[in-house]
C-alpha cells in the first residue's frame, strides 16, 4: 500500500535533485530544468497532502503553481536568449562580467 510518506519521500528526493542541479550544473538550460523540478516536487507534495486529507485547497494551489511555472519558464528562456545573443555561450562560468 502506497501511503502519504512514499509521496513525501519521492517529492523530497525530487526537491534535493532540483536544488543540487541549480547549484552544481554549469549548463544554463539544465539549471532552468532543475528549477522546474523543484516546482514539480512542490506540486507532488501539495497533491499528496490534498489527496490524503480529502481537502481540495492543495489542488487549487497546484493550478496556480503550474500557471506561474509556465510564465516563469517563458520568461527564463527569453532572458536566456538575450544573454546568448551577446555572450554566445550557455555555460554559467562565462557569465562573469560582474564581480566585486
Amino acid at each position: 500500500m502506497i501511503g502519504l510518506t512514499h509521496y513525501l519521500v519521492l517529492s523530497a528526493i525530487l526537491f534535493i535533485i532540483g536544488v543540487m542541479g541549480v547549484l552544481m550544473r554549469r549548463n544554463i538550460i539544465v539549471i532552468l530544468l532543475s528549477i522546474e523540478l523543484i516546482l514539480t516536487s512542490v506540486n507532488l507534495n501539495l497533491i499528496a497532502f490534498s489527496h490524503f486529507a480529502h481537502n481540495p485547497t492543495g489542488q487549487v494551489f497546484v493550478f496556480f503553481v503550474l500557471t506561474i511555472a509556465a510564465a516563469e519558464a517563458a520568461l527564463g528562456l527569453a532572458i536566456l536568449v538575450t544573454l546568448y545573443k551577446n555572450l554566445e555561450s550557455i555555460n554559467v562560468d562565462d557569465v562573469n562580467q560582474l564581480k566585486g
Binding site: I35, I38, L39, F49, A53, L75, I79, L98
Partner: protein
C-alpha cells in the same frame, strides 16, 4: 459567505488604478507611437499619485474580501504607502536615464514598474499563502525583465539572468515550505492555520511544520537578501539600470518583510521561540558581512548593494525584538525603518543617476571627488542621504535606527543592540569616505556636462524632504505604524 459573492472593490481600488495605468501606458504608446518618454513617465506618475490618494483615503478601513484572501488593514495601508513612495521616486529618476539610453521600448519600462508595485501591494494584503505567492510572482517577474532591460548590454543581461535564476530558485524553496505548512494544517489561509494549530497543539511538535517554516524563511531570505543568501545582490544591483536598482532596493524588500511578518504573526503566532534565534543569527551575519564587504568596494552601486544588505540586518534586529514582549515596538520599528530607507536610498541613487554624463556612468567612488565644487546642490543632497544611511541626526536614518535599537532594548536583546551599534560605527566609515571625497578634495578630472532634468530634481528633492521630515518629526509615522501593528496583533 456574502463577501465571497460580492467582492469589496474598495479594498483593491489602488491596485485597479495601477493596473489600468499600466495598460493605458502600453496602449497609448502602441496607438500613438509618440516615442515620447514624457507621456509614459507622466502617466505612471499620475496613476501612482492617484493610487496613493486612494490608499490614504481608505487608511482606517479594516476589511477583507475575495473570500478573506485579501485584507486591507492599516498595516497593509502603511506598506502600500511605502511601495507607492518608492514607485513615484523611482519613476522620477527614470525618465532622464532611460531617455538618454536611447531604448525605443520605454512604455514597457514604466508599465512593468507599475505592475511590480501591484504585486508588492498584493503581498502586503495577502492573508493566504496562494495570494501571497501570486503577489510575489507579480512582483518578481517584472523585476527580472527590468534588471535585464538593456538587452544589448551584456552586464544588464547578466543582472537579469542572475536575478531570474536565484529569484525563481528562492520561490521554489519557499513554495516547498508552504506545501509543508499546508500539509500539517490543512489550509492555506493564515487565520485558519493559526486556529487549527491552536486546537491541535501537538502539531507544533511536528518536524514538517518546523521544516516548512524554515524553508519559508530561507525563501524570503533570498528575496530580501539576507546573508548567506545574498550573493546575487551586488551583481544584480551593479548590472541593472540605476533607476531599477533604486526601485528594487526599497519596495520589494519591504514587500518581502510585510508578507513574512504577516505569515509569522497571523499564521504561526506560537512559533516565535523556533525562529527567534535563527533570525537573530541571520541578522548578525547580515549586518556584519554586509558592512565589512561594503568597506572595500570601489563601485558606488556595489557599495550601496552591500549597504542595503547591512540595512536588512538592522531591520531583522527589530523583527527579533518583537518576540520579547513588546511586539508592537519591534514591528513598528521595521515599518518605520523601511519607510525611511525608501526615501534615503532612492535619493542616493538619484544622485548616481545625476552623475551619468554623456553616456558614461561615473559610478566609481573617485568620480565623486570634488563634487561640491562642480555641483554644490547635488553634493548637499548626497551629504544628507549619506548621513541618513549612516544614521546621523537629524535625518530619517537616525530616527529609524533609534527606533530599532530602542525596540531591541525594550525586548531585552541587549547583545543584538550592541552588535547593531558597533556595525553602525563601521558603516559610518564608508559613507563618510564619500563625503570626504566630495568636500575635502579638489576635482581631479573633468566629467561631461550635466544635462538638467526637472523631473530628476523633483524626485531628489522629494527624497530629501522625506529624509529630513522623518528625521526631525518621526513621531507621527511611528505612531501610525504602532497603531497599525497593534490592530494586526489583535486579530
Amino acid at each position: 459567505m456574502l463577501n465571497i459573492l460580492i467582492p469589496d472593490f474598495r479594498v483593491i481600488a489602488p491596485e485597479l488604478l495601477l493596473t489600468a495605468t499600466a495598460m493605458i501606458i502600453i496602449l497609448w504608446e502602441m496607438i500613438n507611437r509618440t516615442r515620447s518618454h514624457a507621456v509614459s513617465a507622466n502617466l505612471a506618475l499620475v496613476g501612482s499619485v492617484a493610487a496613493l490618494a486612494a490608499t490614504v483615503a481608505s487608511w482606517n478601513l479594516n476589511v477583507s474580501t475575495f473570500g478573506d484572501s485579501l485584507v486591507l488593514d492599516p498595516y497593509a495601508s502603511f506598506f502600500k504607502v511605502i511601495f507607492l513612495a518608492g514607485l513615484i521616486l523611482s519613476v522620477s529618476l527614470s525618465m532622464k536615464y532611460i531617455q538618454e539610453s536611447g531604448v525605443r521600448y520605454h512604455a514597457e519600462y514604466y508599465a512593468l514598474m507599475v505592475l511590480a508595485t501591484v504585486g508588492m501591494m498584493i503581498m502586503a494584503m495577502g492573508r493566504e499563502l496562494i495570494t501571497i505567492f501570486i503577489g510575489l510572482e507579480l512582483l518578481s517577474m517584472p523585476l527580472y525583465i527590468l534588471a535585464g532591460f538593456f538587452r544589448k548590454e551584456i552586464r544588464s543581461n547578466e543582472a537579469g539572468f542572475k536575478y531570474f535564476v536565484l529569484g525563481s530558485f528562492a520561490t521554489g524553496i519557499m513554495l516547498f515550505g508552504m506545501s509543508y505548512i499546508y500539509g500539517v494544517s490543512g489550509s492555506t489561509h493564515l487565520q485558519v492555520i493559526a486556529r487549527t494549530l491552536y486546537r491541535h497543539p501537538s502539531a507544533y511538535a511536528d518536524k514538517a511544520l518546523l521544516l516548512g517554516l524554515l524553508l519559508v524563511i530561507v525563501g524570503f531570505g533570498f528575496k530580501i537578501s539576507v546573508v548567506p543568501f545574498h550573493q546575487w545582490t551586488p551583481d544584480v544591483y551593479e548590472g541593472a539600470p540605476t533607476p531599477v536598482t533604486a526601485f528594487m532596493s526599497a519596495g520589494p524588500k519591504a514587500a518581502g518583510l510585510a508578507a513574512l511578518i504577516r505569515i509569522l504573526v497571523e499564521g504561526l503566532p506560537r512559533m516565535a521561540q523556533e525562529w527567534e534565534l535563527i533570525v537573530a543569527i541571520l541578522s548578525v551575519l547580515t549586518m556584519t558581512v554586509g558592512n565589512l564587504t561594503a568597506l572595500r568596494q570601489t563601485n558606488i552601486k556595489r557599495m550601496l548593494a552591500y549597504s542595503s544588505i547591512a540595512h536588512v540586518g538592522y531591520i531583522l534586529i527589530a523583527v527579533v525584538a518583537s518576540v520579547g514582549g513588546r511586539a508592537d515596538l519591534g514591528f513598528s520599528a521595521v515599518m518605520f525603518y523601511l519607510l525611511s530607507y525608501t526615501f534615503m536610498n532612492i535619493g542616493a541613487f538619484g544622485i548616481i543617476v545625476f552623475m551619468k554624463r554623456e553616456g558614461i556612468a561615473n559610478e566609481n567612488l573617485d568620480d565623486f571627488t570634488g563634487l561640491s565644487w562642480r555641483s554644490p546642490g547635488a553634493a548637499i543632497a548626497m551629504l544628507v542621504f549619506l548621513f541618513s544611511l549612516a544614521g546621523i541626526p537629524p535625518t530619517a536614518g537616525f530616527a529609524a535606527k533609534l527606533s530599532v535599537f530602542f525596540a531591541a532594548i525594550q525586548g531585552e536583546y541587549y547583545w543584538l543592540a550592541i552588535i547593531g551599534i558597533l556595525n553602525s560605527a563601521v558603516a559610518a566609515y564608508y559613507y563618510l569616505r564619500i563625503v570626504v571625497l566630495m568636500y575635502m578634495k579638489e576635482p581631479e578630472k573633468e566629467l561631461g556636462k550635466a544635462t538638467s532634468s526637472p523631473l530628476l530634481w523633483t524626485g531628489i528633492s522629494l527624497a530629501l524632504v522625506g529624509t529630513l521630515y522623518f528625521g526631525i518629526l518621526p513621531g507621527g509615522f511611528l505612531e501610525k505604524a504602532r497603531i497599525a501593528v497593534s490592530i494586526l496583533l489583535k486579530v
